[in-house]
Symmetry: C2
């Protein structure tokens, strides 16, 4: 099935990643190329992808956030767990995987995948059912990070068993009294972090499969965070425990 990726960053990252079948790039007739648009056109022509000028209202039909660009692509290429384990091996890093136990909101899913990509997570695992999946809207809200990240669809309890087999400790994030503070745990080894759904948390079977339950410190009156924020903070705490290994670019650390 063909779909449209909309917006400059998502289109650029899809072209850079080169993991999807790509059919064509549509640009608004009145689009005046700036540096980023020039770079996108170059990526497309290097890959011999046809670029077509179209009326702006044709792009509006695909969605509102097109920023004058839309890329027609084949469906999202899900990975399998073996590829995720292979990525950790290739990078010679302790395994770092994120499992999302039924995130409902595409914005939250995209935001979390973007954070996961920024801290070097090796793969993200989604369940088969009742979850947001990697739609073009999720690619947009991830700012294109989905195209670089290995994302797997699988049975989560089964995947947790396989991750344990591969030597990982599984940490479920939740706000219960049973959960431990991150400071009490060693987060530096091979790890899988499980984030539950907005409002309802992890499903029972998934929760019971975790080695540890971990809660972010919290004060104030509300005592809860947006699900994507909570997951992102947890990912940063894990990465901090690894000394921000691999950090580069704008914010290198020791």
């Amino acid at each position: 099935m063909r779909e449209w990726i909309l917006g400059r960053n998502p289109v650029q990252e899809t072209l850079r990643a080169g993991r999807r079948e790509i059919f064509g790039l549509a640009a608004a007739e009145n689009l005046d190329p700036d540096t980023q648009v020039e770079a996108i056109f170059k990526l497309a022509s290097d890959q011999k992808i046809p670029i077509k000028r179209v009326p702006r209202d044709q792009l509006d039909q695909y969605g509102s956030h097109h920023q004058s660009l839309a890329l027609q692509v084949g469906e999202y290429p899900y990975a399998d767990l073996g590829q995720v384990l292979g990525t950790a091996e290739d990078r010679e890093e302790p395994l770092f995987v994120l499992l999302l136990d039924v995130l409902k909101d595409p914005q939250n899913l995209g935001t979390l995948i973007r954070s996961a990509e920024a801290v070097g997570v090796h793969g993200v695992v989604l369940p088969y059912r009742r979850t947001a999946t990697v739609t073009p809207a999720v690619v947009s809200s991830s700012s294109g990070a989905c195209e670089h990240m290995r994302i797997v669809q699988a049975n989560l309890a089964q995947t947790i068993a396989e991750l344990k087999e591969a030597g990982a400790w599984v940490y479920g994030l939740e706000g219960s009294d049973e959960a431990q503070a991150p400071g009490e745990l060693d987060l530096s080894g091979p790890i899988a972090v499980v984030v539950g759904s907005e409002g309802e948390g992890m499903r029972r079977l998934v929760r019971e499969s975790c080695d540890f339950l971990v809660a972010l410190p919290m004060r104030g009156r509300i005592e809860s965070l947006n699900a994507a924020v909570a997951g992102s903070v947890a990912l940063y705490l894990v990465w901090a425990a690894r000394g921000y290994a691999g950090a580069g670019g704008a914010g290198p650390a020791g």
Copy 2:
């Protein structure tokens, strides 16, 4: 001006905080009270607030996320900087303030205020112009945290001068090469964190008023985070540097 706060958590927190003028609670005719709704009705009747049963489609007119409840209230009660400084003094804590240099997206603004409330920030400062303000949509996306947080509207450069006068160090969050990693900085004293707008960052004058520029460690291909996530992670790093002082409830830390 009267406005409608929609949804269970936002309505409940507005009633708990008791900072607004409240005119009445509207509940859908077919709403079958559960524990949370019972608690909300009790809060309302304790405060002698009229509760009115209305047809569901009347609530639909106020917005889609009403969850069968809408609270009619007076306008949001902005605080002034003196009250923020007073909150830090009352709690006997080093000052912890968040400045938002023109966040455009109500969802991001609400998410950040929710995170700020969860880590014990004493006040949030918004500029006068070109920014999302504390609308009912922002109260909703903050899950009601706006009602407990002291939020100030002010000239940011002027406010930064006043915060420095009060002994605070001002840290601007950005992704530039000039910025330092958080690990290189002492974040435990009186502090103000400045988060810039989605895409464009801080305005020049605000940026130049900062004592330090700080960048979150980052790797991967995208090398940027959602603005609300970046700000929330920065707030957690500051709070971690203070030993998670005041943490309670679900996730206490040493």
